[in-house]
């Protein structure tokens, strides 16, 4: 049983580019190099034109909360110790169908499990921040209205 935080496998060939951009503080979406179709999650082939060529398009890092949950036990030990905590889905401003799962945080260095849960609201504008965990940079989100 896992006793630590879960982190993404950044060596996954389809998604490595996303995590490399994240480490540089950029929110990127896989985009077809031929036809421009964006796709999330990343995958080898463009579902519109079947091209295998892609590029990583850096987004503004802004979006809105599409939905959210507040998670309670029973959970994996690391998560159970900090519950309840929030998880959100964010729609990207450039393309509302491009969505990212993340957490709302109260500041760039604030843990996701110490967020004021009263702020969670569908439609709230948010902007991305990246938080390091076990060498991986995870996209999390602050309210646009929050002080930095």
């Amino acid at each position: 049983m896992s006793t630590s935080w879960l982190v993404p496998d950044v060596d996954d060939p389809d998604s490595a580019g996303f995590w490399q951009h994240a480490a540089r503080g950029q929110l990127a979406v896989q985009t077809c190099a031929e036809c421009g179709q964006r796709r999330m999650p990343p995958r080898p082939m463009c579902f519109r034109c079947h091209s295998l060529a892609h590029r990583w398009e850096v987004l503004s890092g802004r979006g809105t909360i599409w939905s959210f949950v507040v998670v309670h036990p029973p959970l994996l030990p690391a998560y159970e110790a900090v519950a309840p905590y929030n998880v959100i889905v964010v729609s990207a401003r450039e393309d509302p169908q491009i969505r990212f799962v993340g957490n709302l945080v109260d500041g760039p260095d604030k843990p996701f499990f110490q967020t004021d849960l009263q702020q969670l609201r569908i439609g709230a504008p948010v902007r991305v921040v990246f938080q390091e965990q076990d060498g991986v940079y995870l996209p999390r989100w602050m309210l646009e209205s929050a002080e930095t």
Partner: protein, 385 residues
Amino acid sequence: MEIKDRTAIVGIGQTQFGKGLPDTELSLACQAIAAALDDAGIAPRDVDGLVMFSMENGREVEVARNLGLGAITYFGEVGYGGGAGCAVVGHAAMAVATGQCRVAVAWRARKRAAKSSRPWANVAQRVGGAAQWSRPFGLLRPVDEIAMLTRRYMFEYGATREHLANVALACRKHANRNPQATFYDRPLTREQYMQARWISEPLCLFDNCLETDGALAVVVTSAERARDTRQPPVYIHAFAQSIPPQCQPMTNYFCEDPLRGPAWDCAQLLWSKSDFQPKDVRVAQIYDAFTPLILLSLEGYGFCGRGEGGPFTENGALEWPDGRLPINTSGGGLSEAYVHGFNLILEGVRQMRGTSTCQVPDAPCCLVTSGEGVPTSALLLRRAT
């Protein structure tokens, strides 16, 4: 070629439901299949088809060796967990209807009551594939994944916790009449529901299915042979499956319309193959790992319009005996047992035989559905006339 009414379920069998049963999943599977063959009055040597869940731990060869089956000429499996229940029965029906076998068995055996057996308890620290986009953020369990869709659904359509409670209470009332149900002797009140602890807001404890050890099986053969078996045949009138475009199982947040799940496309094929339409259906067994799946499925299978699943549940509509559409009349996954929805199929058969503990009189057919939120399947069962 159509399979409509060309095959029938002629035997059903199940083990006891429990927590921490000593038997292995293979042993439970064999017990349920043996009971189903006995119910049908069909000898094990006559079985020549096997269809199972990809997640099954006991394999076909082991099942065949334990039960002393004859030569198996058709075997196959279907993936995606709770989406596979109606599909394995449907594949059995197609195999019999096309002559690839004459007597097919489909089953599910599952030991999930122990906390250590839950899949989210055994993940590696590094997560790849689809899970890397959700698990690192603490979206760990199936309930968290469905709660995310539920919150959005409530926001878009105004569904409430009262609507979710209507589902939980209907299933519990039905379980309270079924001596085989885990919650046979445990009533549930609306107050208990509203005061229950959260699991993943907006979902509370009673929005979640049980976790159960147990197994269930069905025997499928041709309509001709079904006339000579021990039980009244229950015809497989229509069958459908679906993986909608851009579907991502459970975390279906990345497509154009996440709240239009696999049920919609499955329903379109099912009703196109059927002599019955939703208005003709008076009893249904709808997959209920979580209460909101019922609201989505009511919409997807055409019992109400988009966004109307919540109001549909009002005024006892889902409750036996007087509701417009009694669902999960043995208690379902929420209150009878959660065996990946396979108990819903057996209850559909009992409704068509006239042996349910919440029997709907003279219903001509029964809809049975499998997991919403994953690649899914559905059956329309028809009563012998």
